[in-house]
Symmetry: C2
Subunit: 252 residues, 2 copies
């Protein structure tokens, strides 16, 4: 590897994840089967969907009683009223509701389509997968389990979000443990002595996006290792620090 | 390298870029000095600022005559009226103007702060660096020059943008040549037979973000190689395809 280089690889051979699974142990075991292991300085990125499955954050739609609002909206736009009800339950505010598009602010504060719930591969058609209830806490738990196995590894939980102004989606971080999500250049100067106008970079989101590049295929790989990034250790890290205060947000 | 892995490394030792410089040749020469070379399958990501400098997209502020609007706005918020005038000239629409914050739609259609102009390191305090006039064309030119040197290399031109809802910035793609900026999963099914709800991923933006991770330091490295990504070749590629039609944009 060249000096200052990163390597990124997907963790192959993970089983279908079920409630109660220990994701840290599954990752370590899957690497062991390939005669390899985590190393100091590695970061592990895990797709929110498998974290949610391991935490039982899966809803059987048969148990959902949609309210009148959910029923009317679902009927108008050919949606499942039970899914609309779940989207509402997972949100604290509807940011945009235009035609069939429902952009919400989730209970955690993320702004995304449909409160980040996932209908695509929950194991049966009448189930949906929610985002983890507290993705930072999920990341901290997985980090703790890595530590119990002898590995001091920051953990990022990622999800796939759309964005304004640009078509198609990118992966971003929704939970973090063990590293600062942002690298700040405030007060630093460039080689010409100018202060940087780029004040801080959200490396957590950039790492989540980078990780997506090795899992982006039909047999989605749910966990990825980024090796070689000089992260700033931070045991108090939280993605909440990255969420813009709604009072200062020009697009909410 | 493990199967399916990516590696990402910055190109060390590039000189300060001046108007007329051949960036492809400088990249190839810098790698040669380290006894290495581009390989088939590599993607080169170059910071827009050095592309702009090589194209002479640098404005001497002494030549700018700010209009009355620029003067009033600059005075109200302690800005340089000549910089405000340049921001206006580089834009076709002001998307938000709130206090000192000016979010514009650039002449190319990107929505970003201050039309993407850069005051941080243009070589002197009275100069600003604009985005390339046509970043896709810039990428195509650099790609052509790599080809003349014997390397078939897609090129991405990146810039650092803020975003709604989240603090801090990430690198995104503003120009592309030789590869499809988007990977589409429309119509594909997951292992359970469900159609993907994630319909398309903007791999160009994810690659730009990944590349930032190896240049993110005070001695900003302006060019990066991503090795091992299975891109889809596309000689007609353009970042314009990623820009959402303003008519369909809920946040413009």
């Amino acid at each position: 590897m060249l000096e200052g280089s990163l390597s990124i690889f997907g963790i192959q051979g993970l089983p279908e994840i079920c409630e109660g699974d220990d994701l840290a142990k599954l990752v370590v075991d899957a690497l062991l089967l390939r005669n390899t292991s985590l190393e100091d300085g590695d970061i592990v990125i895990i797709t929110s969907k498998v974290v949610s499955k391991s935490e039982g954050r899966v809803i059987d739609l048969a148990t959902i009683e949609p309210n009148a609002f959910a029923q009317r909206y679902a009927q108008a736009w050919d949606k499942d009223p039970r899914v609309v009800e779940v989207v509402l339950n997972e949100s604290k505010r509807i940011v945009r509701q235009v035609g069939p598009v429902l952009i919400t602010e989730t209970n955690h504060g993320f702004v995304c389509a449909n409160s980040g719930i996932d209908q695509s591969s929950s194991g049966a058609h009448d189930r949906v997968v929610l985002l983890p209830e507290d993705p930072d806490e999920s990341a901290r738990t997985i980090r703790r389990k890595f530590r119990d196995l002898g590995f001091d590894i920051p953990v990022i939980i990622s999800d796939t979000f759309g964005r304004p102004w640009r078509e198609s989606q990118v992966d971003v971080a929704v939970g973090i443990a063990g590293m600062n999500p942002v690298t700040s250049y405030i007060g630093e100067v460039d080689p010409h002595g100018h202060e940087f106008l780029v004040q801080s970079l959200c490396v957590a989101d950039e790492i989540a996006s980078a990780a997506e590049l090795v899992k982006g295929n039909v047999s989605r790989i749910p966990a990825v290792v980024v090796r070689g990034f000089s992260y700033q250790s931070d045991e108090e890290a939280t993605m909440q620090d990255v969420l813009r205060d709604p009072q200062n947000d020009l697009f909410r």
